[in-house]
Point group: C2
Chain length 142, copies 2
DNA sequence: CGTAATGTTACCAGAATAGTAATCTTTATC
DNA sequence: GATAAAGATTACTATTCTGGTAACATTACG
């Protein structure tokens, strides 16, 4: 079973949480942590990463907090995944073909490239605007 | 970067190697290991697993060896992947939703289910018959 | 029985993962 | 400007996973 890591999962919960609030709403990391069941010490690094990547905008200091850096409809699941997992690559020979001495004419490598592209396209098509709408109005996307 | 493991990669090379031979051809593990650059001690477990899953047929003892258990066209890349990675599941909450207390109405979980299904469908569509044909006749599938 | 082959198990070192904790920086407010 | 609230950064740990090695067991042919 090859899966995304917990970081990525938590990150998507955080972004989803913000996407469900009023546009531009700002909340504290501790608040998200408690509501979304994320280890509170953990959330710091995740938020930090997401803001470095341009998904979140943070405000330090008293009264500060976390908000989406862009409208939720412009944030894709792929972006969040790649922030933690690196560029999508279902096999090492996809990201760095040189690692495999056989890769030049290897059809399996081609297959993995194709699979990776398919997955990437799917994840690009999922925005947090869509996901938030599913929560607000479950009927809209059955 | 979340990728398949080396086991899975090696396994696909082994099956591909056999798929390129005459149908029913039987060769030794050591032979495959040397030709496909797989650690020779490693290949035992891999072959053993693949035969347990019904992809390979092995014959023990002197003069024994390894062959495909079925025509290459009936062996999918998905099958080989799942033999080593377990059932496809891009997030833990896909395989076991109970693990996440939020999963009941979690749209991200839905997204991961969809992504997993897409990937599974893609990998089901890739057979080692196709892959072997690409090697024999690169023009046929450009 | 000896040899050639796969099957199985145990083991190891290094890396990654999940999670914790402590400390530093920034900034709003009083 | 002192204080406290908030995020930023770094280090650390325990556990698991991974890739790989090695040894031994089993089977079968001649």
């Amino acid at each position: 079973m090859f899966t995304i890591g917990r970081n990525t999962d938590y990150a998507s919960r955080i972004v989803l949480h913000l996407a469900c609030l009023e546009p531009g709403a700002r909340v504290t990391a501790a608040d998200i942590a408690s509501r979304r069941l994320i280890p509170s010490a953990f959330i710091r690094r995740i938020v930090s990463r997401l803001s470095a990547v341009g998904v979140l905008a943070t405000v330090r200091g008293s009264g500060g907090g976390i908000a989406l850096a862009r409208p939720a409809a412009q944030i894709t699941l792929r972006e969040v995944v790649e922030a933690f997992e690196g560029p999508l690559s279902l096999n090492v020979c996809v990201a760095s073909p040189a690692i495999c001495p056989l890769s030049v004419t290897c059809p399996v490598q081609q297959a993995w490239v194709g699979a990776t592209q398919h997955l990437a396209a799917f994840l690009t098509g999922v925005t947090f605007g869509d996901l938030a709408r599913e929560i607000r109005d479950p009927q809209s996307v059955p």
